[in-house]
Amino acid sequence: MEEGLSTPVGTRRSFFVKTTMVLSSLIGISLAIPFIGYVISPALRRRTQDWVALGKVDQLPIDEPQALDYLMTVKDGWQKSQISKGTWAVKHADGQVTVYSPICPHLGCGYRWDRQDRLFKCPCHGSVYDINGAVQAGPAPRPLDTLPSKVENGELYVMYQEFKSGLSKKVEL
């Protein structure tokens, strides 16, 4: 196409071209920053956890794992909901309490305490743990996951955590 009479040439032309590029880049950058932050910010946010009361330590039998449930308020994005979480708590002879996450470290099923065999057994893939959480049989890559717990004024508190399944090490989600 033939150039029109007043179409700018030379340095004047390159001024228009460069200004156009600079201005559009500025718009692009000032949009890209908030957009990226907006998209990735929930991914960077760590869950903040509080201690939740499980019950009186006195009421736990010694060396007999108990399934203890509790209610906790969970913030799931813009939703707040009360959900029930389970744990397995074991009071040892010395009065110390170990609280296990109720999720099998193999692939995330829920396991049970078998009173006859005195073993934790996972029904999904047959992982078996003893009362100390050590693997006795099955495909489990690591012992049962313990949860942070403490006793204050006779009340047992736990902090809920979840761990990646299938790894030989305990890695928090």
């Binding site: 196409m1 150039e3 029109g4 007043s6 179409t7 201005l23 559009s24 957009f35 929930p42 813009w78």
Partner: protein
């Protein structure tokens, strides 16, 4: 490096001819700041589309979640308030840009042959854009959204014969609710975007087929033409950048808070439409009784029909404004009416809160003396003593309230309301508030 990449792609796709068609479009009479409004509108539309997509990452179009998700975007997501602000102010910006674009085309006579179709598509684009504004307004599901949409939908009901049916279809039933929200959402994010993208493409296609109108001045047009790139592109970029600065500054400085969550039982809420609907809102006040339908739908319908038919009503080929006194006067007259109505409406809106300081003190006293421990006012408070939401309907007499506050049992025998230690000014302020609590 970019040029080598470009060469590589060009060897395969032969981009040069495409580049020629896109950038070397001749503009009669040369590039001009008068021609930037269309590009500014297109830019703002792109900004709306982008920010809208990002808002959808967190928004949920259901009555029990919509409000919470918008609040979550506004308060908790990083940059969410900014992106929502851009979307809000961008919507206003697009109305301004369209307005200026249409005025330029109107006063320049650029809608005349052979560009009639471009004008008609443009008017349809305006209608679609108003549709975006109307459907988008409901989505935050706050009081303003709910009640303004209620009013908007009811206005459609004034159309004879089919009005009632259209209202039911818009609401998806008897009342404004969950189904209304989901269909407004679908219209806003799927149906309207599809329609408007086709409209925009058609608008631009026609522009490229018939070419830009150029100046209305014959001599200037004859001086020759200039290619679209680089000077017109540069002018468009400068204006887009300016528009972006204004919109982002507004998004940062002027917060756009949510009202309370939509409460269909609270009839005391006075909704306000977006400013670009305000002139029409004001017009409705001047159309009492039987004249109502004329203002609600007949005038808008005539206005849009007139706009659509404009190229066929104004048939003279003359483009210079000084040779078209009737059209120019009509256009200016329309502007004067719209801006006068808008001005009056804004004046009324901003006058309301300043009206009576006594009222504000009265509201504060209700909090101070914890009246809601026994009384309920618009859904808030206990249900032990009478509900005060519409107390002025039952007790319109100022003296009754004053006497009642001094000694409740004296005018309301058997009342167990205590005598509060109120001074005369406090009694007066509380009474002022009580008298505003009415349904009318």
């Amino acid at each position: 490096m970019p040029s080598r990449l470009y060469q590589w792609v060009d060897q395969r796709l032969r981009l040069k001819p495409l580049e020629q068609t896109l950038l070397n479009e001749p503009i009669p009479g040369g590039a001009s700041w008068n021609y930037v409004f269309g590009s500014a509108t297109l830019f703002l539309f792109g900004l709306q589309a982008l920010t809208g997509m990002f808002l959808m990452l967190y928004y949920v179009p259901a009555t029990d979640h919509a409000y919470d998700t918008v609040q979550y975007i506004q308060q908790e997501v990083w940059g969410g308030w900014f992106i929502r602000g851009l979307h809000h102010w961008g919507a206003s910006g697009i109305m301004v840009a369209i307005g200026l674009h249409m005025l330029q085309v109107f006063f320049d006579g650029a809608y005349k042959p052979p560009r009639e179709m471009m004008w008609i598509i443009g008017v349809m684009l305006l209608a679609l854009m108003l549709g975006f504004g109307f459907t988008g307004y409901l989505l935050p599901w706050d009081q303003n959204a709910y009640w303004a949409t209620q009013v908007g939908i009811n206005m459609v009901g004034a159309v004879p014969l089919i009005g009632d049916f259209i209202v039911r279809v818009l609401r998806a039933g008897e009342t404004l609710g969950a189904l209304t929200l989901s269909r407004f959402f679908a219209i806003h994010v799927a149906f309207l975007p599809a329609a408007i993208v086709m409209g925009i493409m058609l608008h631009l296609f026609i522009l490229r087929r018939v070419g830009p109108a150029g100046p209305h001045d014959e001599r200037r047009a004859q001086q020759g033409s200039e290619t679209f790139y680089p000077r017109q592109v540069y002018m468009d970029a400068v204006v887009m950048f300016g528009v972006f600065l204004v919109i982002s500054t507004l998004a940062v400085l002027v917060e756009f808070p949510l009202a309370d969550k939509a409460d269909p039982s609270d009839h005391s809420f006075v909704p306000v439409p977006e400013w670009y609907f305000l002139f029409h809102y004001q017009l409705l006040k001047y159309a009492p009784g039987a004249l109502g339908p004329i203002a609600t739908w007949l005038l808008p319908a005539l206005f849009f029909t007139g706009l659509l038919l404009l190229p066929f009503i104004d048939r003279s080929p003359e483009r210079h404004p000084s040779s078209r006194p009737v059209m120019v006067t009509a256009g200016l007259g329309f502007l004067v009416i719209v801006f006068t109505l808008l001005g009056i409406s804004l004046q009324h809106l901003y006058a309301v809160p300043k009206q009576d300081p006594s009222l504000a003190r009265g509201i504060a006293l209700v909090e101070q003396f914890k009246c809601r421990t026994c009384h309920r006012i618009h859904g808030d408070g206990a249900n032990i003593a009478p509900d005060l939401s519409y107390v002025a309907d039952r007790r319109p007499d100022r003296n009754w309230h004053i006497q009642h506050f001094k000694d409740p049992a004296s005018v309301s025998p058997g009342s167990f309301m205590p005598k509060f230690p109120l001074n005369d000014q406090q009694i007066n302020d509380l009474t002022t508030y009580m008298l505003t609590l009415k349904s009318g």
